[in-house]
Symmetry: C2
Subunit: 216 residues, 2 copies
Amino acid sequence: MSPTITAFEQSPDRGRGLARDMRVRWALEEVGQPYNVRLLSFAAMREPAHLALHPFGQIPTYEEDDLALFESGSIVLHIAQRHGGLLPAGANARARAITWMFAALNTVEPPIVDLQIARIMEGDQPWYEQRLPLVQARLHKRLGELSGCLGHADWLDGAFSAGDLLMVSVLLRAKAAGILSEHPKLAAYVARGEARPAYKRAFDAQLAVFTAASAR
Amino acid sequence: MSPTITAFEQSPDRGRGLARDMRVRWALEEVGQPYNVRLLSFAAMREPAHLALHPFGQIPTYEEDDLALFESGSIVLHIAQRHGGLLPAGANARARAITWMFAALNTVEPPIVDLQIARIMEGDQPWYEQRLPLVQARLHKRLGELSGCLGHADWLDGAFSAGDLLMVSVLLRAKAAGILSEHPKLAAYVARGEARPAYKRAFDAQLAVFTAASAR
């Protein structure tokens, strides 16, 4: 049985591939695992049937036989552990790749989400303009550190891994916010991720959902 | 060889156990693995020797033979995978426990850190008082969802796991910020974590570092 993931029936990013189902789609495409998608309206995401799968009422979830998971990081790790291609074979290199998965989600993504929260949820507040430079400065500091660590390498630690998959996914949100141009090495890193055939297949699949929903 | 972790020479939380080395100490105590601690000043954390271990110049790091890791989530997962006691034996239960690790760090911790950032880094800004209720509301919504999911269970999914270890660690920051009293089930959950002998040993060890530094 192919696994089933959940995704937005109509993505709030208008098909730009920034919703978190994209990370799971990309991982499944990298390892060549077919999957099913169950689309959810915003109303359905707050219903008991979905909250039983995802306590925070979000997407994606992942169902496979009698296993049900949430959290994109955990789902990507599960896929990477069950299939070859997303984690190195050696135990130490594997632990380092998993370290980059956590770094993407716990160290790099939060200041990016903070910028999104400022713009989307506080954009009409009187403090917005004055506070924005502080939020941007915290994010640029973090991105500068990441850029210094990447240097001139193609990927964060050897071959492309689930760590890169999550880091590129997280940075795509910074790119969409227009702030990656100040970090050319990271912009090139993200472009390398977007150029991967598996990324393109995943992107096209999520875009097709949005296009179909918009045409109705 | 016992692993070596890094921690603050003088913790900014004044020994309250909220720094991220505490999570790693706790995990090591749960599995009964002795460890060494290398203490770092704030200046040393920005030096090349440390940045080679931790690209974001933070603590903790974890060194064991020729393996070097950063990110507390990754280190706790590494410890949990190498030793018994922090992850269930069954593959599905194991994947669910790891899901809670990611949920703690990527879904529950960010709004808690946002409150800390608001208070510590923006407490003197003109918008602070006006903005605080928005930050608190976002956090209480998330904590309410978590509380509903925990219900009357002792731990998030069966026996105590690395997922509970990270979730309790994250919630201790919310407790320190005085906002856990509105969520009695979560307050009791945190108290169960704090009552574990391994937690107490880890807490005492980090407190002894702060006490010794203060006495100098």
